[in-house]
């Protein structure tokens, strides 16, 4: 547990040499700044130090009806230095990359560690992670930042026009792009350079019945991904907008959901968020330990439940990984320098809780030896905290199609797309809306319904899982913006699943108009 500064080096790695040219920042300059910081921390008495330096590029464009309302590019450069001094963390971050700022950063991070010492309580204890020297770049086709402004604005306006031509009164469409380029270095001797890109095209089509005082909307079902521009052009957004416009219009006059207990089949476009909220967050070790008690909350899951808790039915296996192609949390190493291979494990296995997600310095609290690679800082100037890798529901190994699932339902509801969501601070009581609800009658899909949401409690809900699609039905979804910590950090994460069937779930009519 006692950290030292002796470097532990292994052979340099190169995950994807063909993408190495995507590193835009001056490598020599970054290395020099990292050396300056780590050397200064060591001379200042730090037992451990790490630094993240780099740049995040973002682009955001938004259209509303026939207008392009915004088109912004944003570049943020900076560093964040973390030092462990006499058992206390100290952190300093700045949106600058120069030697004077690094020197100031060393002094301020050490000063902060000293300031915190009077209330430290138990000293921070770290395990020793292997020190990697590596480069990793996300495989990608067309760099979305190289695509012209006019092509992007044309696409957004075409999406809006398509929705409005097919039933929507209004449509807003947006495109978010992000590229992170980071150098991570620590006093164990790690030196890791990584870059990844993600894209999120989306839209909302809205139909209004002014006379009836009613409105309905349908969001795009195209998920955010770790991908290049080819993902955006292949997503069929203009065609989907036409369908969404018609569906928003149809929702205005659809049959209202009648509140009651139903067998429900949840499409992966909706289930990803349920997985995220009920399983992803409840199995974060920092929450289990109480470190998020004042904000994001704790968990109904306790440390002693590992290996014993019956979380769901035997069909439920939840996999954590950082290597899934196209996923938003996919990366070579986490923000503590742990390799992706350490973040490949089952959280739930055949319904039983098997593992928590951990960052550096947490494993010893539950008698384990090392982090499993679940740390992330949403910018170089943010303190790294425990965050999710990609967390997904494994498909049924037995053949099972959506029709097979439907055939087992006499009276039920099929839920598509994520709507409003809410869950309690220990991840038990939840309520999820959706984009589209369909009646299931005698084993077949029926009419479109409106104004639905399902409500439940995590353990009974997952134990009510009795049908699961196979690999052919699997779909990867996710979000750019999972929030946690004070100050709030947002993290990208993907969740995959097949469609899944749950018995006797409470479904509400959200308007009371039944």
């Amino acid at each position: 547990m006692a950290p030292t500064f002796a470097p532990l080096r292994d052979a340099p790695e190169r995950a994807d040499a063909t993408n190495a040219s995507r590193f835009a920042l001056d490598r020599t300059a970054l290395d020099r700044l990292a050396d300056l910081a780590l050397d200064g921390a060591r001379r200042g008495g730090a037992a451990y130090a790490d630094i993240r330096l780099g740049e995040t590029l973002r682009e955001y464009a938004q259209a509303k009806d026939d207008r392009l309302e915004h088109f912004d590019e944003r570049s943020t450069r900076g560093f964040g230095l973390r030092v462990l001094l006499d058992g206390s963390w100290g952190f300093y971050g700045a949106r600058r990359l120069d030697e004077a700022s690094i020197r100031e950063g060393v002094a301020r991070a050490l000063e902060n560690a000293r300031a915190v010492r009077p209330i430290q309580g138990a000293p921070i204890a770290l395990e020793r992670l292997p020190a990697h020297e590596a480069e990793w770049a996300m495989p990608m086709g067309v760099d979305p930042f190289s695509v012209s402004t006019s092509e992007k604005s044309d696409l957004l306006l075409a999406i809006c026009a398509s929705a409005r031509d097919n039933g929507a009164d209004f449509c807003s469409a947006s495109l978010s792009l992000a590229r992170e380029e980071r150098l991570f270095a620590n006093s164990f001797g790690a030196r890791i350079r990584q870059t990844r890109t993600r894209v999120h095209p989306t839209f909302t089509a809205t139909a209004v019945d002014r006379a009836a005082g009613r409105m309905a909307s349908r969001d795009s079902l195209v998920p955010a991904r770790g991908a290049g521009w080819e993902y955006v052009t292949d997503a069929g957004l203009v065609a989907e907008a036409a369908e969404a416009g018609a569906q928003a219009r149809a929702k205005l006059t659809a049959k209202p959901v009648v509140s009651g207990d139903y067998d429900i089949i949840i499409d992966p476009t909706n289930l990803w968020l349920t997985i995220h909220e009920t399983v992803g967050h409840s199995t974060e070790l920092d929450r289990v330990l109480g470190w998020e008690a004042n904000f994001a909350g704790t968990s109904f899951v306790k440390p002693h439940m590992r290996g014993d808790l019956r979380f769901g039915s035997e069909l439920m296996t939840i996999v954590a990984d950082r290597s899934q192609p196209g996923a938003l949390s996919t990366i070579g190493f986490d923000d503590d320098g742990a390799p992706a291979s350490s973040a490949e494990f089952n959280i739930i296995e055949k319904g039983v809780l098997k593992n928590f997600q951990m960052a550096l310095g947490q494993a010893h609290y539950i008698g384990l030896s090392a982090s499993n690679g679940c740390a992330y800082a949403d910018s170089p100037t943010a303190f790294p905290i425990q965050r999710m890798p990609n967390i997904s529901l494994a498909p049924n190994p037995e053949k099972c199609t959506l029709d097979d699932l439907l055939s087992g339902v006499e009276k039920g509801i099929y839920v598509v797309g994520a709507g409003s969501w809410s869950i309690d601070q220990q991840r038990d009581n939840f309520q999820f809306g959706g984009q589209l609800f369909y009646e299931i009658k005698d084993g077949r899909l029926g009419e479109l319904l409106r104004d639905g949401a399902y409500q439940g409690r995590t353990i009974p809900f997952w134990n009510a899982l009795d049908g699961l699609g196979d690999a052919s039905t699997y779909h990867l979804d996710g979000t750019f913006t999972c929030g946690k910590a004070e100050p709030v950090q947002v993290a990208p994460v993907s969740h995959g699943s097949p469609p899944a069937r749950f018995r006797n779930v409470r479904v509400l009519n959200t308007t009371g108009d039944e």
Binding site: E69, N112, A212, G433
Partner: protein
């Protein structure tokens, strides 16, 4: 990095002078932030950050391209300006284009205090220590976050506008949980002036609420008389306020839309005891002087004695509809009444006292139907007395009904950060009837 008004004006002036666009807007913001988190009586994470961000918006032929950078060297700023001009040239013409604002008259907003601006982590650690000590004294575990900041925002346009606003902030929130892990309490506050933050009171209130050994009571879902403490009221009021967009109302996409068309301005939609207003000059929760797009914030009510009196309106929508542009507000004051919290409790035969709410989300925007849960201090009231802790519940509540059924309000006080962006709010405790709890939660 914290820039003075003169520094910001010099940087913006250079960019505008070099601009090749029809018009140019420069926005600079930044500052320094400190934060310290603690859990189970000891420190977990902390940080100090220095940040600056500069956005250049170039207007060319009725099109606007923007680039934001954190680099302030001349080469980087020149590159950003040129790129913003390139983007603008490649965009389609905006049919609702509005040119940048010229000079404006801004009201003074007192939100900066040298004492607060000078705070660093040692002071935050002392505040956390007070919470930790109180927890140890009454036998509960303590968790929390202390933070401080000094921040600035500057806006300059080629039409001659220059605006500069600065604020200091200090913030402390504390959660306490009893040793059996069956009950929790919370208290918190946000202030612009260091001397106004009462860490002692926050520590005491959070720990008192958690120090219950009684087994929490389970209530069945249904409609209840509820007393909401000010922080819960502020969050609910913010949801009602944030839905007050004139364009959404005009287009029939909002609770504030008139059936058949138009916005419900001038209509009584709420109880006459409800007034939500903003005022840059009110020291309780001052809105900044400079609003979005540079439009000045003026003292105004959005809801005045139950009547919808204003909706916020972007400059583009204002131009299109021939109405006044009104910037969105993040800092607001909900007027109170003369009932004390104790008065309210005494008046309730059976009800629930709610400390704090959590994870609200709009389920149905047209009806302002909000869901969320109680958290960190929920208590049963019977025959005018708080008799027991009561387990948390999910609510599904129409805000129109909620704010139309106000029975009593207490005195308005500053609250912790309001939902949706860290604004400063002030709100009273509120007694309401028929608050709808839809299901039970075991979350503690």
């Amino acid at each position: 990095m914290f820039l003075t008004s003169d520094d910001a004006k010099t940087i913006a002036g250079k960019i505008i002078a070099r601009s090749n666009a029809d018009a140019c807007v420069v926005k600079i913001d930044g500052g320094e932030d400190y934060s310290l988190r603690f859990a189970r009586g000891g420190a977990t994470t902390n940080l100090a950050i220095s940040e600056t961000s500069l956005r250049i918006s170039s207007h060319i032929g009725g099109r606007v391209g923007s680039v934001t950078t954190t680099r302030l060297d001349e080469a980087a700023l020149d590159a950003a300006r040129v790129r913003s001009e390139e983007i603008a040239r490649m965009l389609p013409v905006d049919p609702d284009y509005v040119a940048p604002l010229g000079p404006q008259d801004y009201e003074t907003s007192a939100r900066y205090d040298d004492n607060a601006a000078a705070l660093r982590l040692d002071t935050l650690a002392a505040q956390a220590a007070r919470v930790i000590e109180e927890g140890a004294r009454v036998g509960v575990d303590t968790f929390g976050c202390a933070s401080s900041a000094r921040r600035f925002e500057a806006l300059a346009t080629s039409a001659g506008l220059f605006a500069y606003d600065r604020r200091s902030e200090i913030d402390l929130s504390a959660t306490a949980r009893n040793k059996s892990d069956r009950w929790s309490g919370w208290a918190g506050a946000h202030q612009f002036f260091a001397g106004r933050l009462d860490a002692e009171s926050i520590a005491r209130r959070a720990c008192e609420k958690a120090a219950h050994d009684a087994e929490p009571v389970d209530l069945e879902p249904g409609d209840y008389t509820v007393i909401l403490e000010p922080v819960a009221v502020a969050e609910l009021a913010f949801w009602a306020l944030s839905a007050m967009d004139a364009r959404a109302a005009d287009e029939g996409r909002s609770f504030y839309a008139r059936p058949g068309g138009g916005a419900l301005i001038g209509e009584t939609l709420f109880d006459e005891k409800l007034t939500i207003r903003i005022d840059p000059a009110d020291p309780l929760a001052p809105e900044g002087g400079v609003g979005y797009e540079g439009v000045p914030h003026r003292a105004r009510a959005f809801i005045d004695r139950g009547v919808v009196s204003s909706l916020y309106r972007s400059r583009a929508w204002a131009q299109k509809t021939g109405a006044e542009a009104i910037p969105f507000a993040r800092n607001f004051i909900m007027e109170g009444g003369d009932a004390t919290l104790d008065d309210m409790v005494r008046s309730v035969k059976r009800g629930v006292l709610v400390t704090r709410i959590w994870y609200e989300n709009m389920v149905e925007p047209k009806g302002l139907l909000l869901t969320g849960l109680t958290r960190d201090g929920n208590f049963l009231i019977e025959n005018g007395r708080v008799t027991a802790p009561v387990r948390n519940m999910r609510f599904n509540q129409r805000l129109g009904d909620l704010f139309a059924n106000i029975v009593a309000l207490g005195p308005t006080e500053r609250t912790w950060r309001a939902a949706g962006g860290g604004g400063a709010a002030a709100a009273p405790p509120m007694l309401v009837e028929k608050f709808h709890f839809s299901s039970k939660s075991s979350g503690v």
